[in-house]
Subunit: 173 residues, 2 copies
Amino acid sequence: MNLRHFVRDVPDYPKKGITFFDITPILKSPEAFRYCIDRFVDLYKDSGATKIVAADARGFIFGAPLALELGIGFVPIRKPGKLPYKNRCITYDLEYGTDTLCMHVDAVEQGDKVLMIDDLLATGGTAEGMVKLVREAGADIAGAGFVVQLNFLDGDEVMKANDVRHDYLLEID
Amino acid sequence: MNLRHFVRDVPDYPKKGITFFDITPILKSPEAFRYCIDRFVDLYKDSGATKIVAADARGFIFGAPLALELGIGFVPIRKPGKLPYKNRCITYDLEYGTDTLCMHVDAVEQGDKVLMIDDLLATGGTAEGMVKLVREAGADIAGAGFVVQLNFLDGDEVMKANDVRHDYLLEID
């Protein structure tokens, strides 16, 4: 399957001059969506991962089914104020300003091997924040899987700099 | 399985005097999460549904795996500005003020039988908005499935008033 046929280029979103890669056509196609999850299962079935974390909101769409298929727990990572129980949060630098991500304090623990799943690896800012959040909780990163990697941005380098093995199902140059 | 053991009561969230029912313990337990999806599959495998819609963000966590299991497309419903392609939106009344929900214009079409999935049926405000959005696109509602129904709020009546058959996996009085 050529996954590129299911990623729609949307010009000038979220602002003028930026092209957004829209993955909703993957979701609309049962075959393309199943293909993504099956490839992730192949990549991670022997990874020893004990939990999957994914960030609000598109990460949930890929991370949750994969957790079910691998038979491991799913942990949502969200912005401050979105998770009802006690939160562990991290604030990290982005190109312009900062951002904050949180998870429940009992979501992962020491000894967990945590797999991160997201739809897109772009600048790597969010992914790096997730890595730090998981490691500060005392857990290890088992790997990071992305549906799409944008090769013209620095996400690949950021993952390597953080010593995280990562995989992607489609790269866009 | 008693799903109630996996729903955590969080007092005074999102504001004082309100108890929030936190479903993240379901997600953390592979057995509880799998139980939910299997029960939804049993409920809807013969429904003739052609698409699943779910709202940002917890709805994605249950709706996406179910779409995969049923072999039908998944359609995300989000707040304005969150979906990159052309949007169809609806603004609906809530107890205090209004809210707006959107989906892509090509997400569902006439002839689709759409199944709505969400974690919680409370006042029914969001669910009613989703019903209107889907019907305005010319599609039919095949049903609505919720992990939890709060019996002390009006969601049940709202679904009946909208002529939507709905199911839930756990009711809380």
